[in-house]
Subunit: 319 residues, 2 copies
Amino acid sequence: MKDVALGIDIGGTNTVFGIVDKMGNLIFKGTIPTNAIEPATKLFERLFEKFNKVFDGYSSEYKIVGIGMGAPDANYYTGLIENPPNLNWGYVDVASTMKKYYDIPFALTNDANAAAVGEMEFGSARGMKNFIEITLGTGLGSGIVIDGKMLYGHSGAAGELGHINIVKDGRKCACGNKGCLETYVSATGIKRTVFEMLATSRDESILRDISFNKLTAKDIYDAAKSGDKVAISAFKYTGKLFGEALSDAVAILSPQAIVIFGGLAQAGELLLAPTRKSMENNLLHSYKGKIKLIQSGLSESDVAILGASALIWQELKKT
Amino acid sequence: MKDVALGIDIGGTNTVFGIVDKMGNLIFKGTIPTNAIEPATKLFERLFEKFNKVFDGYSSEYKIVGIGMGAPDANYYTGLIENPPNLNWGYVDVASTMKKYYDIPFALTNDANAAAVGEMEFGSARGMKNFIEITLGTGLGSGIVIDGKMLYGHSGAAGELGHINIVKDGRKCACGNKGCLETYVSATGIKRTVFEMLATSRDESILRDISFNKLTAKDIYDAAKSGDKVAISAFKYTGKLFGEALSDAVAILSPQAIVIFGGLAQAGELLLAPTRKSMENNLLHSYKGKIKLIQSGLSESDVAILGASALIWQELKKT
């Protein structure tokens, strides 16, 4: 019997799950709709009904030693999902619910933290003890690893780099504040930047033909690649602010590397080059040239499951 | 025989030392001039000559179990003092030098980190696992404690909150960057703020009679207490920026409390009230009303020695 972890990631639309071994090999995976209008207990019923059916075919070969889960507004300490704005669940005691299905070690955290643990176990941060994982999706999530351990802080919710202030009295954020980093540096952020630039500049741009609701980060990337001035400027501005924020994070945390992940990160050097330049300009002298800014080593489609399962491999190392 | 630690703090002008027991009782203390134009080895010769003389009278009663030291640009990992701008020493291998005098456990860090460890062992942060210590002197130093341990990061120099950017293209900082927090929030920072306000406002102020070089934070405090408009505005502005920076630090680190220490901190609520208000305004919703902003529980005159000695008590707990 080979030890494996069950990794589960609860998203706003879909919940994915899979069986992962200690080396990060994904044995199998599956997906079900989250269907967040139903209570969370219904989701777990459907999840384990489907999972157990599939796992039956593997159960002679593999033994599940723990369950790791990534979920929005998840608290590592309490095992609760705490009133996530995009799921209509209020507070859900996931840790207790899991025990009813499998009475084995369980660990819960948010998706950015899970990605960070996955990166450390299986990705670009293997062997690193101090790094910051940043996920650039609709928003900006971050997971901070210090001395080989996830930073959870006093509340369990540490690591919200997306909500540090980057522009005074800046753009309105979903959190209620203004000028948060994620309102500039994220797929949504760069879109807002493009619209600001379309308004203030007189440059021609193929992006002038796309509505706010239709515009995607991919459109901006494609436009920049084809030489569109506005799109290129938008990446430069995004990188400038991103680099400024990262230099502050470095002064506080002294990481070895910053690992970038998620949709917008796929723009590669178009985003990373101006980010690196701005970060270097703003770093304290002793850090200049020393902080790696690298892309994730995990595949976009599997990171949620790998990260969630990695929580368990980390947990089991502690004991 | 009672176990004690030798605490040493190297300052730009004076070096202080003292013997401290596990409860934070200071058995005796002494001071010698740092005399930084001489090589560091000379300082240690003079230091131990004086210390050994005094300790002779105590050596039948106390046993020194370790030496803790706070020093500028000190690296916990390497045991080096690394080219401090205000001491003409270059790189000094303090850990090796100490072994020649006493071959016992030795720990070295900067003064803000030492203060944080002292606060955790003997001061306002007793029993806390996650907090930020901020020392407001000529500059702004900080020590970050996570899960009961000092944050040193990859380089050993983590925790430089004084050098996060708070005003874009703001005041020139000694570090070479512009707009660093300590150029606004520190004894020097509030002085610069007063001079800016004396230039921009037309309010009468007793501070208009004092030159830049003569003006002290104490003058500004006294003026504010006597109702001076400019001085009061300067404290409000300092607190506003301080609170903004702290709310960012909270989003990243999720501390239980922020402990304020040092000359400017003695202004008490004059500084803390606007800081708290600004921090609360900018905090993520889940932290509002939950982060304590408190004054240090350590005496100004003894903190350097207590902090340095506390490094040893922490070190010995690890083993």
